[in-house]
Amino acid sequence: MELSILTICYLIGSLTFIIGLKMLSHPESARKGNMVAAVGMFIAIFGTIFLYQENGVGLHNYGWIFGALVLGTVVGTLAAKRVKMTAMPELVSLFNGMGGACAALISVIEFGHIAALYSGEHPDQVAPTQGTLLTIFLGLIIGAVSFAGSIIAWGKLNGKIKDFSFKGQQVFNLVLFFATLAVAGYLVVAIDSSNYVLFYGILIAALIYGVLFVLPIGGADMPVVISLLNSFTGVAAACGGFLYDNSVMLTGGILVGAAGTLLTVLMCKAMNRSLTNVLIGSFGGNAAGAASAASGSQGAYKEISISDAAVCMSYANKVIIVPGYGLAVAQAQHVCHELEKLLEEKGVDVKYAIHPVAGRMPGHMNVLLAEADVSYDKLIEMEQANDEFKSTDVVLILGANDVVNPAAKTDPASPIYGMPILEVEQAKTVIVNKRSMKPGYAGIENELFFQPKTSMLFGDAKAALQKLVAEIKSL
């Protein structure tokens, strides 16, 4: 391997990816880590444009290349800066799909290139190796699956696409998957690079598979799926690296493939569900959920008035707020911060207990509260919160449901059984704010609502909090 400036650029790129990822896993260094990786990427890209040489010939078509770079940068930056905070996971999915599509298109072009070489049109009449064909097909299939799946995931988080599945879908998916691999395998072994029909057939099959893979999975599980698709695209990028013997594509791709896979597993652990359960068990979950909802008893619940709640909270020593999806939907985070400040002025110690999967993505609540300027150190993680509930006077639950459902500990038939929850029942009083008694995302009853220490404060989170604030001010 001859040492050249480009090689050094690629080395720097690879190092920044590793260091950047490491820094991204700690809150203090996360933002800088992102910058580090971005700088490395910049160096690798521009090094390639100006220094890449094959057989002594550099790259041309600079006008087109820079045109594409500018277009992508402008659109990408605008989209990323303008999007609402809560719409960011779907944007991540969309960008992931773009990467997958890029990988697939590279394979399309290379296949055409090789077909031309093999058919003798090109002066270098070299037959392609099986290895080359294999990487082309892998890049094509994985890139296409990732692209199609990511678009569906984007639509699901958007609300534009509903869950959909048909009988025997699992079987159909498996058959499609193996058939695609078999055809590609045949083309590789036979070193057949002229069969365009089969090539595009494989591309279409991979796209369909990507769609069907993600379509039946529930919206709440999308972050896990996006993380998995993320690692797929990483592997597709690595295939490109194999194809061009390009070390930076290889390291970047494999790093993301491995890290992404582990991250997916970690996300599943936080929900205490296995990956297979997430990918395939969406049906089983719903059926069990329906059963327990039907058999659950509609016990008696207590309601609390705004004025009682105001008094209760103002004269407490310690209040812990549990935010949930309902808070995000009502966009009540700013009023919530007002409430917190008001209570603190009265000498109440206020904290926020954040469950790892509260809301619609990990970190959703953190982002929501940060948007309202809530101080980062007021947010406590689940483990610490569970220690503090016994010394807490009032717990105020704002639109959270499944993350405080005791059935996760007590009812083996429940779809959320085994998931660690916030043990709010250890506090002296629990006030639950919801719009109605309707079940939450998992579709099951929550026995917390019927317990003696709990009272319900019905209403939209924003309206209820505004009334609470007004009431406390008048005390």
């Binding site: 790129g13 990816f17 990822l21 991204l24 896993s25 809150p27 996360a30 933002r31 992102n34 990786a37 990427m41 444009i49 790259l59 078509n61 087109w64 290349i65 594409a68 770079l69 992508g72 659109v75 990408g76 930056t77 989209a79 990323a80 991540v92 960008f95 773009m98 990467g99 890029c102 990988a103 298109l105 590279i106 399309v108 072009i109 290895g131 993380s227 990483g234 990028a237 690595a238 490109g240 690296g241 194999f242 930076v248 594509m249 390291t251 970047g252 791709g253 494999i254 493939g257 491995a258 890290a259 991250l263 970690l266 996300m267 790892p356 990990p362 953190n366 982002v367 101080s375 980062y376």
Partner: protein, 102 residues
């Protein structure tokens, strides 16, 4: 079998890179607080945009006159750029919320 072993022998350095990268990727993610799962996913998303380099190489080698290939290549680079730039900007936005208030 013989062909695979020969290939492995010739490309042993790539095999080292792949294996070490896998272990490295797993190690580096080690203990991530769950609140960072989403920004980390977004950052990793931006990093796999390195696939754009392949698209640039492909587009840079297109001979004049092959317009279809050029357009596909153009599309590939645009998509790759969206992945890279969009990815890093979104990640930065997610992380700017993690400032400690004094």
């Amino acid at each position: 079998m013989e062909a695979i072993l020969n290939w492995a022998q010739a490309h042993i350095d790539i095999i080292y890179i792949v294996v070490l990268s896998i272990f490295l990727g797993i190690e580096v993610i080690g203990r991530v607080p769950s609140v960072l799962h989403t920004p980390l996913m977004s950052g990793a998303n931006a990093i796999h945009g390195v696939v754009i380099i392949g698209a640039i190489i492909v587009m840079g080698k297109v001979e004049p006159g092959h317009y279809v290939t050029l357009i596909i290549g153009f599309l590939a680079v645009v998509l790759g750029t969206l992945n890279v730039v969009g990815g890093f900007v979104v990640t930065d936005r997610m992380l700017e919320m993690f400032k400690k208030k004094k």
